[in-house]
């Protein structure tokens, strides 16, 4: 049914994509009412009833940036554990030694990074 080499799930996801976009387009075309001349106030971004001022894309919340850096590193490291976990029965206790070394190497830097990230005076 599906071409060789392409997993069947691709068809499922493409179907979902097309169906949802079609829904939006049909709604937009057929039943959604249209305002031919919207006033500037109507199209202004929402700001709790105030007149919106300044750019919408304002400054970042930078104080949590260390957590993002830690995430980028340790999310990848956590994935390696899945390969070990899947084969644990075959490896047995002896196969755990490299993973143990891996964790011992990986966790103290995490603790230190966490210590730095939690210091509010550095924000």
């Amino acid at each position: 049914m599906v071409a060789q080499g392409i997993p069947e799930e691709t068809g499922y996801i493409l179907f979902l994509f097309a169906a949802t976009i079609l829904l939006v387009v049909v709604v937009r075309m057929v039943i959604s009412p249209r305002d031919p001349r919207p006033t500037p106030e109507k199209r202004a971004p929402f700001e709790s009833g105030q007149i919106s001022a300044g750019p919408g894309r304002t400054r970042f919340i930078i104080q949590y940036y260390p957590y993002i850096l830690m995430f980028v590193v340790y999310d990848v490291i956590a994935m390696f554990l899945f390969a070990w976990a899947l084969n644990l029965r075959a490896l047995g206790a002896t196969g755990t030694v490299p993973v143990l070394i891996f964790m011992v190497v990986a966790l103290p830097p995490l603790a230190y990074a966490l210590h730095l990230a939690n210091q509010r005076e550095n924000w």
């Binding site: 709604v27 959604s32 304002t58 899945f82 084969n87």
Partner: protein, 330 residues
């Protein structure tokens, strides 16, 4: 044999995608879950909740709301990136619906039975905060932008504990496939008993992943006015609200599959009924969190996520390890 279009429309694969467990059932169940949440929250707060939309306690209320939202005008704010503004909710809904293709609802009723079902589920879910950030950025408005950034930061707090809490299941069962995990539970009993800590961590982190109270920081309606959803008009707002319920359904289904034995249960009741009984129980539990706990602050969530949740999930891995290898005699 005959017309290829009719063959396609009546094939099992197409019916699974379009009717059950695919699109149609997802849409209907999503709307019913919306009703369940409103009714449950109302009962907790000693209110009546939806009442008039049908004889059976307003059960059609969300369908009425969907029709109402479809007839609203599509207004896109000035300066918004129109392409990403419209595509973000569409993509979010697809991500939610794609998750349900991986769940085995009953023996044989599963759209995609792949060998690595569990990591694929979590990997698809990982995309959704990026979509939220894109939606918040594209709206060119302050509240959506703050909400999108909060989603990004929140992800760093729960993502690693979420993966590591399911690692315990992988260690105990030795399988990444959801069918394989159910087969293990058929012989050895439900995994929630040896993996109680893992199940607790999974339900906490998946509540954060679903952006539900007490972790609904990106949409916090009482502080940043629905956050990243603030600028969405009628029909698009429906598409934005949909993924929340679809993800709730998908995560409860995953919890049922990996911890509560999925469709397994005593014989006289069919497997699919067992599956939905367990799933609705978990859904109701997560909905009751909403009425029970106050919202956490972002820095509290980040700190607890990186300390308490991470430590507990490593402890859970150690428990699972000793369950498999056995406690060494020293």
């Amino acid at each position: 044999m005959g017309n290829p279009i009719i063959d396609l429309l009546t094939s099992t694969y197409f019916l699974e995608i379009a009717v059950f467990p695919g699109l149609l059932s997802i849409a209907i169940l999503g709307a019913l879950l919306g009703w369940l949440e409103r009714k449950l929250t109302a009962r907790v707060q000693l209110r009546v909740g939806p009442l008039y939309a049908s004889p059976a306690g307003g059960i059609l209320q969300m369908f009425a709301d969907i029709i109402k939202l479809l007839f609203k005008e599509l207004t896109i704010p000035d300066g918004a990136d129109r392409f990403f503004f419209i595509m973000s909710p569409v993509t979010a809904l697809i991500i939610g619906a794609a998750l349900l293709g991986l769940i085995p609802f009953a023996p044989g009723i599963q759209i995609a039975n792949i060998e690595v079902g569990l990591p694929v589920f979590l990997a698809i879910v990982t995309l959704s905060p990026t979509i939220v950030l894109l939606a918040g950025w594209s709206a060119n408005s302050k509240f959506p932008f703050i909400g999108g950034l909060r989603a990004l930061f929140q992800q760093t707090a729960y993502e690693i504990p979420l993966w590591l809490s399911t690692l315990g299941v992988v260690i105990v069962t030795g399988s990444l496939s959801l069918t394989g995990i159910i087969d293990y539970q058929r012989n050895n009993g439900w995994l929630i008993i040896p993996q109680l800590l893992g199940a607790f961590l999974f339900i906490v982190t998946s509540t954060a992943e679903m952006e539900r109270l007490p972790f609904d920081l990106p949409e916090a309606e009482s502080e940043i006015m629905m956050g990243w959803q603030a600028e969405y008009p009628g029909p698009l707002f429906m598409l934005v609200q949909g993924p929340a319920f679809v993800k709730l359904y998908a995560f409860s289904a995953l919890f049922t599959t990996i911890y509560l034995g999925g469709y397994l249960g005593p014989v006289p009741i069919p497997p699919i009924v067992w599956f939905f009984l367990k799933t609705i129980l978990i859904i109701a539990l997560i909905m009751l969190f909403r009425s029970t706990f106050p919202r956490v602050r972002l820095d509290q969530l980040l700190r607890q996520g990186w300390t308490t949740l991470l430590t507990l999930s490593i402890a859970n891995i150690i428990i699972a390890y000793f369950l498999v290898v056995g406690i060494p005699a020293i």
